[in-house]
Amino acid sequence: MGEHALLVELADGTAAEAFHAELLRRRATGALPGVREVVPAARTVLLDGEAEPAALAAELPGWEPRPGHARVGEVVEVPVRYDGPDLAEVADRWEVSPAEAARIHSSAEFRVAFCGFAPGFGYLTGLGARYEVPRRATPRTAVPAGAVALAGPYTGVYPRSSPGGWQLIGTTDLVLWDTGREPAALLSPGTRVRFVPSDGPTGTGAGR
């Protein structure tokens, strides 16, 4: 991809996560010194800042990524009020009650497959294929910060107010992105996530 980037396409999201993990392992040992950015996505991993992308590309078939994910750190718990305006519609698609939809969502363990769209916005996988939902036909012009939303196979949490076409199922007060904090992003590729049902104000941002 251009003069000094390589876009590696994998068979599927699982293979992309395993390849990403392998890249991070190699990078941690000092390999890939020139690479400035490693950007996983739905089924690709981008390496940007590589002086000799063709040489690296030639080397890749010899790699044997171990199955698995980038990180097995702590689980980030995201408290959620399942009060989103699209919860009923999502429940209908799943052919369950809204309460059951919330139970299904909060029972799954998620993982950040990749980030994008806005700083701190993670694309979380973990719901089964039968729970995929389409984007809304008409995107909303303003989705509030903290909205917990679904689209395709992904769950995401809007880190700040922005336009968006995802189905809103809930709200969290957890601050996902804060450049004054280290690390700024609560969710980065590989992070494990659980959504914990909550009735009242949630998390550190409560009362703001």
Partner: protein, 287 residues
């Protein structure tokens, strides 16, 4: 007053603080940002004795006016423009001394779009994730300049010796962008690829720090469907559903779901950032 700061008297159409950008956070969705014409930003910094990576001001078309609270060394480069202190003309493209309290006027660009203003010591706003750059896509870094704002300056170092400054190449009458096809050229018809590399496009007035938008023949897809989101690079020529290519500049999103037909050489992007709307654009393939 003798503090190290500069007051913004006239912010201009769009003046932002820029350094060489915010790298290493693309995996969190953080754009690289940074000066669109990095060679110009580095040069004006060298002229005033700053590190090349010091933060400068990037103006857009209409320049800006500043009032330093202390005597400062200033250099204006990038798009040529008139420079004055208290109405007195000063040379463009070289280090000049501006007294405390004087009105420094950076006039409208005579050619090109973006002038760069380096001040000895650099603009010392707090860095965010290692950079002082304003990122207009995601809102990181300082807000664009506003009339009345006050920007802190870092400690100036003496200008040492003369700076070997290559002449500014000037904005092109025709922008020639060397590209490498791919990674998603196979999403387009052969005829579209020939169109891209043989027909002329024009720089659209809708261009901004995120991308150089182009008017011209639409590129036709060879296949329907959606591309799953994938990582994007500087210079990526992304083709949205309307078929008109967009060349990604510094504030580009880190991932995207429209296919990238080709990638422009990084060395050609400064000229792209200085090309005024209506400039003819040609893409040529280069290894």
């Amino acid at each position: 007053m003798n503090d190290r700061a500069v007051a913004v008297v006239r912010a201009g159409a769009l003046t932002t603080v820029q350094d060489l950008g915010r790298t290493g956070f693309a995996h969190l969705g953080v754009p690289r940002s940074g000066a669109l014409d990095p060679a110009a930003a580095r040069l004006v910094n060298r002229l005033v004795g700053n590190e090349e990576a010091a933060a400068v001001l990037e103006t857009t078309v209409t320049g800006c006016a500043l009032r330093p609270r202390t005597a400062v060394t200033v250099a204006v480069g990038g798009a040529p423009c008139p420079v004055r202190a208290d109405g007195r003309p000063l040379p463009w493209g070289t280090a000049v001394r501006v007294p405390a309290g004087a009105l420094l006027e950076v006039g409208p660009a005579v050619r090109g779009l973006r002038s760069y203003v380096a001040i000895g010591g650099g603009i010392a706003v707090d860095p965010v994730l290692g950079s002082r750059s304003t990122d207009l896509l995601s809102g990181l870094g300082p807000a664009p300049l506003a009339d009345g704002a006050v920007l802190p300056l870092g400690a100036a170092t003496a200008v040492r010796g003369s700076v070997d400054a290559p002449p500014w190449p000037g904005p092109p009458d025709e922008l020639v962008l060397r590209v490498r096809l791919g990674p998603r050229d196979d999403w387009f018809t052969g005829r579209s690829l020939r169109t891209l590399t043989t027909r002329a496009y024009l720089v659209s007035p809708a261009s901004n720090r995120i991308g150089l938008r182009l008017d011209g023949p639409a590129l036709e897809r060879a296949r329907p469907g959606e591309l799953p989101s994938e990582g994007m690079v500087l210079g990526a020529v992304q083709v949205p559903p309307d078929g008109r290519p967009v060349v990604f500049l510094a504030d580009h999103p880190t991932t995207g779901g429209y296919p990238v037909v080709a990638v422009v050489r990084e060395a050609d992007l400064a000229a792209a950032a200085q090309a005024v709307p209506g400039t003819p654009v040609r893409f040529v393939t280069a290894p």
